[in-house]
């Protein structure tokens, strides 16, 4: 449970931490598209520079980012190796055996893919490490506001999300407690074959569902007692403010994108 969701946020006081969550969310979304567009060495170099600058200004040590890479390791390795071995002919051939051959084009391709993986994962890790979950939720529901026009009940969803986030730690504690209680009675979690493992989770899931629903009943009664009727027609207590540093960050980002696009092979 060491890599638990809420344990990932690192409370530091850097410029990245203090940015408006909305601008961080939008930035990391746009960043993904920008990474797609890069295709020359120089354009990648510019993006690497920008990413490193963002990481440095967050004051978070690089080790945390390397940890973020770990779950993706097999996919990265698999992709790079396949890309290397089954590459199309092109450039100098270094190694050849039946259908496997390592060519210059293959090496370049694998390098590019590796960089791409790093860039995408580093940036999303940065967002997670520098933004509190509740801020992410507030930012998201604020960014979803325009979806009202296509009749999506944004306010209700925001309310559900707020409830969900509030109860994640509670349910997590509860899950651990139930697991320990079942262990004490002889259930082995995570042992034996796949089917046996799946079966051992039933004594965890069933009580968890029941307790979650009991909580839901209590909470909804309490909410109604406090005058809750619907999610619309309400005011907001948590208000996000867009500040100068957000505008500045966007200006820097747009400048980086412009230079990147200029150095791109068209």
């Amino acid at each position: 449970m060491s890599n638990f969701i809420f344990g990932r946020y690192l409370p530091l006081n850097s410029i990245v931490h203090r940015l408006d969550p909305r601008s961080k969310l939008l930035l990391s979304f746009c960043y993904l598209i920008v990474v797609f567009l890069a295709n020359s060495w120089l354009s990648y170099a510019i993006l690497i520079g920008f990413t490193l600058a963002a990481i440095l200004s967050s004051k978070i040590s690089l080790g945390f980012f390397l940890k973020g890479l770990r779950p993706m390791l097999w996919l990265i390795a698999f992709t790079v190796v396949v890309q290397l071995l089954f590459s199309p002919a092109g450039g100098h051939v270094y190694f050849h055996w039946t259908i496997l051959n390592i060519t210059q084009a293959g090496l370049v391709n694998s390098g590019v893919i590796f960089i791409r993986f790093l860039l995408i994962i580093m940036m999303s890790t940065l967002l997670t490490l520098s933004t509190q979950p509740l801020d992410i939720a507030t930012g998201l529901s604020s960014l979803m506001k325009p979806l009202r026009w296509v009749r999506i009940p944004v306010d209700t969803l925001a309310m559900m999300l707020a409830i969900a986030l509030r109860f994640v730690p509670t349910l997590m504690d509860e899950a651990t407690k139930i697991m320990n209680a079942q262990r004490a009675r002889g259930v082995d979690f995570g042992e034996g074959g796949l089917i046996k493992q799946a079966k051992s989770f039933i004594p965890l899931m069933v009580p968890l569902f029941m307790s979650a629903f009991n909580r839901a009943e209590d909470l909804s009664t309490a909410m109604e007692a406090r005058g809750y009727r619907d999610s619309e027609h309400r005011s907001q207590y948590r208000i996000l403010t867009w500040q100068r540093r957000d505008t500045m960050t966007w200006i820097v980002f747009l400048m980086v994108v412009a230079t990147m696009l200029a150095t791109r092979r068209w």
Partner: protein, 174 residues
Amino acid sequence: MAKTQLPKLDTLSMVTMGLLMALQLVISRFSIGNNFIKFSFTFLIVALLAKWFGPWWGMMTAAVVDVVGTLMTGGPFFLGFTVSAILGSLIYALFLYKQPVSWGRITLASVIIAVVVNAFLNTLWVTIMYRTPFWSLLPLRVVKQLIVTPIQIVLVYGLLKSRVIQTIQERLNR
């Protein structure tokens, strides 16, 4: 402002959905399996939300949980996976919402999700995102789905038929 056309939710349903979303985020942290095959039980919650609250709420909560879940675990966000999550929930709802629980329905829903969403679409997203070669990744993922899907079918059936879930459903409809 445009009004939502969805049937109005009572507070209990809304709060229950919120707690199920929380449960999904919690459960996504537990996974079973070994180094080669790993899966978590989040599909149970997706199926349950779809069964109880139907396609619209199912799809919307699936989208929100996917976005929030990936953002908070530090995984790279990609819209394609959100689309997959939405589709998965939609397929469950089409087969399970307001229908009696049966092996046939659950099997069909799970197989469609396994083939279309997990094997095909998710591989496609990985390919687009990282330029992973599609045809070399697909067989691996198909094999995984072949092993995992039967287990999922049994678990969804077991869950939806279980007394606890039936009790809760009665209390929700009251």
